[in-house]
Symmetry: C2
Subunit: 133 residues, 2 copies
DNA sequence: CTAAATGCAAAGCATTTGCAAATAT
DNA sequence: ATATTTGCAAATGCTTTGCATTTAG
């Protein structure tokens, strides 16, 4: 499905700025506000941070984009996709997605806490292959 | 060990304000800046947010306090203790600590990502026993 | 006595809002 | 044609800084 269709499916008007935000998010996978801004400026020299904030907010409201909170770093944003976890390099900040099975751990957490749990946010930290050389 | 001794062990001067911050952190387990501020005002009507920020920052530098980033909420702070995970109620925001075994999951994450991992941050979300009634 | 902490005010960032003009549908 | 989006400027909110005074050790 094209990015245009993805936006239309969420009832988001397809503006050039918005489309480029989706392109950049898709290309980088995860990106923080500042880097998103920098990347958009090459194609849209007059784009404003307000536009980026507004777009990220409406996209989050429509559940098309989500924020990932990372320890000791600024939050990054990603296109909402199948539930997954994150691994972050504490040296170069590279982030990758991983699909791990959290069922057993969530069960453990449920019985230990007495909570009814339906979600989990997991971020592993360490060194990426490049930085651990 | 008393809170006074805990501060001294970290080379932190024992001021009344600082001691009360530790008392409040210990009492609540996890608290965000605003609520910490409100709680301190009863005992120190003229305490300033700057003092609280400065204290949390130096305490974090000394690894005596740490920040916990929670999805969809303001960060909370806690006294640094043995590694553990968190469970948060998405209705009343209550947070509890749990000790779960993350070894297997971390191994899985390592092999999937190719990263050398030495830390993980896990936050489960759901309803606390009270809110799920 | 010295270095650090406090509290105030000001400064510095980050994010949101209001609004006129432009644009998507 | 209408409702939404954009980009600017201003406003708001959050966190840090500078500094004179106070306090802990």
């Amino acid at each position: 499905m094209s990015h245009i269709e993805q936006l239309q499916n969420k009832n988001l008007k397809v503006t050039p700025q918005r489309l480029e935000i989706v392109d950049v998010l898709t290309h980088f996978g995860h990106i923080n506000i500042d880097n998103l801004y920098k990347n958009l400026q090459s194609k849209f020299p007059t784009i404003s941070l307000a536009t980026i904030y507004k777009n990220l907010n409406t996209m989050q409201d429509k559940d098309f984009v989500c924020e990932v909170k990372i320890p000791h770093q600024k939050s990054v944003y990603e296109i909402t996709k199948k539930k997954h976890s994150h691994v972050v390099c504490s040296n170069c900040n590279e982030i990758v997605d991983i699909e791990i099975t959290t069922t057993k751990l969530t069960e453990e957490a449920k019985s230990l806490s007495g909570y009814q749990l339906d979600d989990s946010s997991i971020v592993f930290s360490g060194l990426c292959p490049e930085c651990s050389k």
